[in-house]
Amino acid sequence: MEIIIDGKKCEAQYGEYLLDIARKNGIHIPTLCHSDALPGQATCRLCIVEVVEGSRRRVVTSCVFPVTREVEVFTNSEKIRRMRKNIIRLLSARAPKNEFIQKLREEYGLLQETRFAVDEKENCILCGLCVRACEEMGIFAISTVNRGIEKKVSTPFDEASDVCIGCGACAFVCPTRAINIMDENGVRHLWNKEFQLVKCQKCGEYFTTREHQEYMKQKFGEDNNYTLCEKCRKKAAGEKMAECYRI
């Protein structure tokens, strides 16, 4: 199947998401809440594009729009730019000092929003990706709390969570680095809790928390090299493979 994005012919598979097709063809669409590992969040609305089919034009979020027909797509039409600017202005009102939002503002030539009373320290845009990440880990330590203007992401009762393993998946996926995570002197501080960091048995670098390590061992078995950091684990796997082929 072939679709046209901003005048460029692009090869597409049935059901493939517009954003993925655009990216494969080097066409830039701004995103915040999209993560390749956790697709389908679609809450930031930044990735909107215009899809044209005959006389029908509509605005869709490209990160969750599957291509099923040969359509024409505009990622930067006047209408899209105008709408996207509004979205960025709203995001700016929410997280005015955030570096990622600031960058978007610059990209779209927007000034800092002054119409609203803002919280200068706020960085979270409430996309909910962190909550998803935690669910995906199977932990469910955080969730969205309250609603409307009081909505936020937190642990139950804003306390140190009794289930959090300090893996940091939430902070890792956060598009605006809104989650306070700090590793200091072998201790990780996250969600009002402190975790003991453990060192990789090969390279000796701190790489995760004891709780995370234990959890992975329990879930996937002892023999999966959870005492090694990501890098050393990959290396070990590579060496093992090489050994196999030598025989």
């Binding site: 469910f140 330590a141 709390v145 309250n146 609603r147 642990t155 139950p156 009762f157 289930v163």
Partner: protein, 162 residues
């Protein structure tokens, strides 16, 4: 009914099969019985339904009808919807504030009254409207507010006399 006694919560829970789809119904029943969702019961519910505490907390903080802080025995809801607003519901709210010395969203020190504002109770024809627990009051005026509240005062005294 002893408020600190959470054992009745078991009875509430067991009226429902341990399935997630009953989550909200159970929370509503708990809210009704205790006037709030006590934390130990939220934890009990977590174990009963096998739902993460974070999810329960999310639901409990989302709905206005649920509260994690104890509400008064009498929950006063003053409608501040469009019709009631035009019929000066604000003067009613002000009057209640004056009499009970609480602001919307809070509870009197003795745990007797909570004050809330809501958006349209569907009785605009008799606006301004106020509800105390399950009783409706239409065409409320500031002077009637005092009368009504006094009724509840007396009611309370009668109960404690027994």
């Amino acid at each position: 009914m002893e408020l600190k006694d959470f054992s009745y919560a078991r009875t509430i829970l067991e009226q429902y099969p341990p399935e997630r789809r009953f989550l909200l119904a159970i929370l509503q029943d708990i809210q009704k019985h205790y006037n709030y969702i006590p934390r130990p019961i939220l934890e009990m519910l977590r174990d009963y339904l096998d739902v993460p505490l974070s999810k329960l907390y999310s639901v409990a903080t989302f709905y206005k009808a649920l509260s994690l802080k104890p509400k008064g025995r009498y929950v006063i809801k003053v409608c501040d919807g469009t019709a009631c607003h035009l019929k000066s519901s604000q003067s009613i709210i002000d009057e209640i504030k004056k009499v009970l010395k609480i602001v919307p969203g809070s509870t009197t020190g003795d745990g007797k009254f909570s004050l809330e504002t809501v958006n349209c109770l569907g009785s605009c024809a008799v606006s301004p409207v106020m509800v105390i627990n399950d009783r409706f009051y239409g065409r409320v005026t500031p002077s009637r507010v005092r009368e009504i509240l006094e009724e509840y005062g007396r009611l309370e005294n009668e109960q404690t006399w027994k």
